[in-house]
C-alpha cells in the first residue's frame, strides 16, 4: 500500500468518526454552524455599512470587496472544517501531556494532530462563503470560464495551506510557552489582513503584509483571477509563499516536538 493511500485511509477513518460524532451532538453542530454564520454576517454587514458611506475603498467597489471578503471567508471555513479543531487542541494537549496519544498513532505526528477531527459546521459554512462569492461575481456581471474557476480553486487551496501553516506555527509555540491560550488569537488577528485590498497597503505595511507575511495575497490572488484573469506574478507569488510557509511550519513543529517531554506517569 502506498504512503498516500495509507494516509488517505487514516484520514477517511478520522472523517467517519467526526461525522458520527457530529451526528451524536446535533444541537452542538447547529450552534457552531450558527456561530460561523454570524461571523460571516458580521463581515458582510461591515462591508454594507462602510459602502453606505462611500463608493470605493482603495479602488474596490462594494461587490469587489464582497468577493474579496467571501474568498477570505471561504479559505478560513475550509481551514476550520478540515484542520482547526485538531491544531487548536494541540496547544492544550501539549500542556496536559495528552499529546502522547497523537504520538502513539500510526502516522506522522503533524498529520495525525491536524486531521483528527473534521468540523462539519465549518464545511457547511464554506457553502455560505461560496454562495457569497457567487453572489458578488453575479452582481459584478462577470462570467468566469472553467479555466478561471480551476485557477481560482487552486489558489484557494494554496490559501488554505498558508492559513494552515500560520496556525501550526502559532500553536507550535505551545512547545515553548506555558500555555497557548490567546496565541490562537494571533492567527485571527493576522488573517484579518486577508480582507484588505492589496492597494490599501503602502510603504512598510505593504512590505510586511504582502511580501514578508503572505496574508494579503492569500485572498487577493484568487479574487484577482475572477476580476482580472490570470496574472502570472500573483500566481507565482502565491505558490512560492505556499511552499515557503508550509516548509517553515513543518520545521518549527518538528523543532518543538523535540522539546516535548510527555506527561506519562
Amino acid at each position: 500500500m502506498s504512503t498516500f493511500s495509507r494516509y488517505l485511509r487514516i484520514w477517511l477513518a478520522s472523517a467517519r468518526y467526526s461525522l458520527a460524532r457530529a451526528m451524536m451532538f446535533r444541537g452542538d453542530l447547529f450552534v457552531w454552524a450558527m456561530v460561523e454564520l454570524v461571523w460571516i454576517s458580521v463581515n458582510v454587514l461591515m462591508v454594507a455599512v462602510v459602502y453606505s458611506h462611500t463608493r470605493s475603498v482603495a479602488g474596490w467597489n462594494e461587490y469587489e470587496m464582497l468577493l474579496l471578503v467571501g474568498t477570505s471567508m471561504l479559505i478560513q471555513r475550509f481551514l476550520m472544517g478540515f484542520f482547526w479543531s485538531g491544531i487548536f487542541e494541540m496547544g492544550r494537549n501539549v500542556r496536559s501531556g495528552a499529546f502522547d496519544f497523537v504520538l502513539a498513532q500510526p502516522g506522522d505526528p503533524l498529520f495525525m494532530a491536524s486531521t483528527r477531527k473534521l468540523e462539519l459546521d465549518g464545511l457547511l459554512n464554506s457553502v455560505v462563503a461560496g454562495a457569497l462569492v457567487v453572489f458578488a461575481v453575479g452582481r459584478l456581471g462577470f462570467h468566469p470560464g472553467p479555466a478561471d474557476l480551476a485557477l481560482y480553486a487552486c489558489m484557494v487551496a494554496c490559501g488554505v495551506v498558508i492559513h494552515y501553516s500560520a496556525l501550526v506555527l502559532a500553536m507550535s509555540l505551545s512547545f515553548w510557552i506555558t500555555s497557548s491560550q490567546g496565541v490562537e488569537g494571533s492567527y485571527f488577528t493576522l488573517m484579518e489582513f486577508s480582507r484588505l485590498p492589496r492597494e490599501a497597503l503602502r510603504g512598510i505595511s505593504s512590505v510586511i503584509f504582502v511580501w514578508v507575511l503572505p496574508v494579503v495575497i492569500v485572498s487577493n490572488a484568487p479574487a484577482r483571477v475572477i476580476l482580472h484573469g490570470f496574472q502570472p506574478s500573483w500566481a507565482a507569488g502565491l505558490c512560492a509563499a505556499t511552499l515557503f510557509w508550509f516548509f517553515l511550519a513543518v520545521v518549527v513543529f518538528r523543532l518543538g516536538l523535540r522539546r516535548y517531554t510527555s506527561a506519562s506517569s
Binding site: 451532538f25 452542538d28 457552531w32 461591515m46 458611506h53 462611500t54 475603498v57 505595511s205
Partner: protein
C-alpha cells in the same frame, strides 16, 4: 485583608504566570490596530469627514475601544466558570462562606489589572506612530461621566460572561454560545465600526441593547462622538442594564444550583 482581597492577589499571581500570553495578545492587538489604521485610512482617502467625523477622530475612537477592552473586557471568565461547574470545582465554594459571584469578580478585576498593564504597554509602543492622529476632547464632564460609564461597562462585561458561564449547569458545552455572543457583541459593541455609521433607525434600536454599553458607550463619551444629553440618558440605560444583568446572574446561580449535582467523595 478580606477573603476577596486574597482572591484578587491570587488572581494577580495566576495571571502573571501567563504574562507571555498577555504580552503576545497585546502585540497582536497592535497588529489589529494597524489593520484598523490601514482599512480606515483607505476608507477616508479623499474625504475630510465621514458621518461627521474625521479620520483622526475615528482612529482615536478605535484606540479607546482597544484600551477599554484590555481594562474592562471579559476574555475567558465564562470558560473558567463553566469549567468550575463541569469539573465539580464549584463544590468547594458551596461548602465555604464565600460568595462565588464576588470571588469571580475579584479574579476578573485581577486579570484586568494584568491585561490592562499589558494593553497600556502596547499602547505606549504604538503611541509614537499614532500620536499625530489622536484627538481627545478636553471637556471635564466627559471624565466625570466616562468613569462611571467604564465601571458599568466592566459590570456588564463581567455579568454577561458570568451568565454564560453559568449555562454549564444546563449544557455540557457552552463555548458555542459564548462565541456566538462574542460575534454579536463585537458587532453591536462597536468594535467593527463606530455604531454612529449605522442608519439612524437601526442605531436607535441598538442603543437599547446591553451590547451597546459593552465598549461603544464609554468610548463615545471619552472621544466626543456624542454630547452631554446623550451621555446622561445612556448612563441611565446602562445602569438599568447593569442592574438587570446582576439580578439575572443571581437568578441563574440560584436556579443552576437546584439543577447541580455534586458528585464524588
Amino acid at each position: 485583608m478580606t477573603k476577596y482581597g486574597h482572591a484578587f492577589v491570587v488572581g494577580l499571581q495566576s495571571n502573571l504566570v501567563y504574562r507571555w500570553n498577555f504580552g503576545a495578545r497585546s502585540l497582536f492587538w497592535l497588529c489589529h490596530l494597524l489593520w484598523v489604521f490601514i482599512f480606515w485610512a483607505a476608507f477616508y482617502a479623499g474625504k475630510a469627514e465621514i458621518g461627521g467625523f474625521t479620520f483622526a477622530q475615528t482612529l482615536t475612537y478605535f484606540v479607546v475601544i482597544f484600551v477599554l477592552q484590555f481594562f474592562v473586557g471579559a476574555f475567558n471568565e465564562d470558560y473558567q466558570i463553566s469549567e468550575d461547574i463541569r469539573n465539580g470545582l464549584i463544590n468547594q465554594f458551596l461548602l465555604k462562606p464565600i460568595n462565588y459571584f464576588a470571588y469571580r469578580l475579584s479574579v476578573f478585576a485581577a486579570a484586568r489589572v494584568v491585561s490592562g498593564a499589558f494593553g497600556l504597554m502596547a499602547l505606549l509602543l504604538a503611541l509614537p506612530f499614532f500620536r499625530g492622529y489622536l484627538e481627545l476632547p478636553h471637556d471635564g464632564w466627559r471624565i466625570a461621566l466616562g468613569i462611571p460609564a467604564i465601571a458599568l461597562t466592566a459590570t456588564i462585561q463581567f455579568t454577561i460572561a458570568y451568565c454564560f458561564g453559568l449555562l454549564a449547569f444546563w449544557f455540557l458545552e457552552i463555548q458555542g454560545f459564548v462565541i456566538l455572543s462574542m460575534a454579536v457583541e463585537t458587532f453591536l459593541g462597536g468594535q467593527v465600526f463606530p455604531l454612529d455609521l449605522l442608519p439612524h433607525g437601526v442605531f436607535n434600536v441598538v442603543r437599547f441593547t446591553p451590547f451597546f454599553y459593552q465598549a461603544y458607550f464609554p468610548a463615545v463619551i471619552i472621544t466626543g462622538r456624542e454630547g452631554f444629553d446623550f451621555a446622561v440618558q445612556g448612563l441611565a440605560i446602562q445602569a438599568a442594564w447593569a442592574f438587570i444583568l446582576v439580578c439575572l446572574s443571581e437568578a441563574l446561580w440560584r436556579r443552576g444550583l437546584r439543577h447541580h449535582t455534586a458528585a464524588g467523595g
